[in-house]
Amino acid sequence: MSELVLETQKLDKVYKLGGRQVRALSDVNIQVKKGDFISIMGPSGCGKTTLLNMLGCLDKPTYGKVILDGVDVTKVPEKRLFKIRKYKVGFVFQTFNLMPYLNAIENVELPMEGTKKSGDEKRKRARELLKLVGLSEREEHRPHRLSAGEQQRVAIARALANNPSIVLADEPTGNLDSKTGYEIIRLLGKLNIDQGTTIVVVTHDSHKAAHASRMLFLSDGKILGKEKEGTHLLKKELICPHCGREIQPDDTFCPRCGKKL
């Protein structure tokens, strides 16, 4: 069994809204192994973002544990949490959240501020990452001169800057048209296969969720018992499920038999 990167134990989150208690998460137990590409699916309001915020140390659970790389982050004091956010977690947001006054490469360098890397090292790393997401030509462009898809690619590159243990993506395709959305999902899949990046995506779009290797279902703050395997699993082996012949990680259709992967 591969090592666990992330694990939650009996995760509960209760909000108080005007004297009324709202249970956003209830007894959530999930396990993410190294190299996993998991999608968490569910309708809006089911607690997907709340869960992701717990996983990314942006919020604390009411009960339960979040164990990231063997450390229970719910016990880490707020003062030191920034280190976990910086080095262990990479965030990708629905609205990209790039700094409008920084160009693409500066945005990617941003999480490396305050690390031991020199300016040259940061620039080199940022350049590598932009190449990885296919934006080598756009280094000097500011967000407003990039398309939505390109902005999300920059955001993904930024999430990878400090080589995190896990990338958490909150509806990464939510603000993109269908075609671009698939491109982003495929990019995440490619990173997962090529770089071995562990990825957790939350989405309400079942088609895109199906590209992950594992699909979890969240409903009313609870993880449903059934868990599905996504098509990504097949790609990981790089074999067409229909004809059994070799495929490439970013193929949508089998180049041999032409069937949808």
């Binding site: 942006l58 920034f82 956010r85 080095y87 947001f93 959240n97 700094m99 501020e113 305050g114």
Partner: protein, 422 residues
């Protein structure tokens, strides 16, 4: 910020003015203590003022006060008093001609009617000239008056400019023509000494129609110990004359100095008050601007925290921003301040005027020590490098102070809440 900077400038200027005043007085006080002034009038009147626009109500002759004369024979009698060393007569009379001038002050404009010139007839005894400095010493052209001079005058620079005459030129004084033999610099003498024409006392008596009359005597005692007794004798014999000794003059000067000091203290209190208000206002402005900025950028703070910025990173960023803005404001403020400080000070700070109280009538000791100049001291602003540095320092300090709380608040923002913020 600019106003804030110009106010300390004004305060410094006031301190300088106070220092100058004190120096003037000190020099004045150290002059002869053996002099007793005997005069027919209580002191030189200054001028009467009328609000701008109203016609000058002053009679053309006289200087706001009737000029009274003493028979010069009184001098001979005084000379016989025990302990009297010398009696020096003077005849002072203002011209019938007047000029009208407008003086702008922070309290409004005043129309002032003043005589075109004042004649001072002096006894041209060579010993008096050398020992008692009865004539101006700062001659800019020609020579001063000498014993035996007649039909000649020594006039002030601005008067010579007014008439357009130089040395050897002719000037008409009271219907008679005189030759100018010398011109003295009157610029340091301020308002009063500016238009005096010096001539032989007998010429003055003739031309003004006051033959046998003088306006005052300067009585010199053999020794300081005689001063009081001489003064008593004169007071007893001539009840209508005004007798002032060194002590009287000192008291007058002290009163004037006290007045000046209280004016300065008031000005400084006002300035201090204004500084405090400016400092508080500036801090509040920085505080609110930075609070607004923090609110505007809540989402950005959320993003930065989500990607691993520490509270300290965020706090220092906002602090730095506040300080930077204040620094830029400081540069702009000093720039505006250096241009506008003199203008602002003339509007904001009252002029220090000593036109009242003491007659300020001292045996004229010419040059910068003439008490007459005290009356014309005005506050001016000197923007020194130290002051600019201080203003800079204050600006940075206020920037830091004002952004402390907003920066702290920014650093405490919950990243999740911040990311949800629209």
């Amino acid at each position: 910020m600019a106003i804030m900077i110009s106010i300390p400038a004004g305060t410094v200027a006031n301190q300088e003015a106070a220092q100058r005043l004190t120096e003037n007085y000190n020099t004045a006080i150290t002059t002869t203590t053996t002099l007793i002034e005997v005069s027919a009038s209580s002191g030189r009147g200054m001028f009467s003022s009328t609000p701008s626009g109203a016609p000058p109500s002053m009679p053309s002759a006289g200087f706001g006060q009737e000029e009274v004369f003493i028979n010069e024979a009184v001098g001979d009698e005084i000379r016989t008093i025990e302990g009297v060393k010398d009696v020096v007569p003077f005849l002072e009379k203002s011209s019938d001609e007047t000029t009208s001038e407008t003086i702008s002050t922070p309290r409004g404009s005043f129309s002032i009617s003043r005589p075109l010139y004042t004649i001072t007839g002096v006894c041209l005894n060579s010993m008096f000239i050398s020992d008692y400095s009865i004539l101006p010493t700062n001659i800019t052209a020609g020579r001063k008056l000498l014993e035996g001079d007649s039909g000649v005058v020594l006039m002030s620079l601005n008067l010579s400019e007014y008439y357009g005459v130089g040395v050897e030129g002719e000037v008409k004084i009271y219907e008679e023509y005189f030759t100018v033999v010398g011109i003295y610099d009157s610029t340091a003498q301020g308002f009063m000494g500016a238009r005096t024409v010096y001539m032989n006392i007998t010429d003055a008596q003739t031309v003004t129609g006051q033959v046998g009359n003088v306006s005052r005597f300067d009585v010199y005692a053999e020794d300081v110990s005689y001063v009081d007794s001489i003064a008593d004798v004169i007071k007893a014999a001539y009840s209508d004359l005004y007798v002032t000794t060194y002590e009287d003059r000192l008291a007058n000067l002290q009163t004037a100095l006290n007045n000046a000091e209280s004016t300065l203290a008031q000005t400084q209190a006002t300035a201090t008050q204004e500084i405090v208000i400016a400092v508080v206002a500036t801090s509040l402005i920085v505080l609110f601007v930075m609070l607004y900025t923090v609110r505007e950028r809540t989402r950005e703070i959320g993003i930065l925290k989500a990607i691993g910025f520490s509270n300290w990173n965020i706090m220092s960023q906002f602090m730095l921003e506040g300080i930077l803005i204040s620094l830029i404001a400081g540069v702009v403020g000093v720039a505006i301040g250096s241009v506008g400080a003199s203008f602002l000070s003339s509007v904001l700070l009252p002029h220090i005027s000593l036109f009242s109280g003491s007659s300020g009538r001292f045996q004229p000791s010419f040059g910068s020590t003439n008490p007459g100049t005290i009356g014309s001291e005005t506050t001016s602003v000197a923007l020194s490098p130290e002051l600019m540095l201080l203003a800079f320092g204050v600006a940075v300090l206020l920037g830091a102070l004002g952004s402390l709380y907003p920066a702290w608040r920014a650093s405490r923002t919950s990243p999740m809440e911040a990311l949800r913020y629209e």
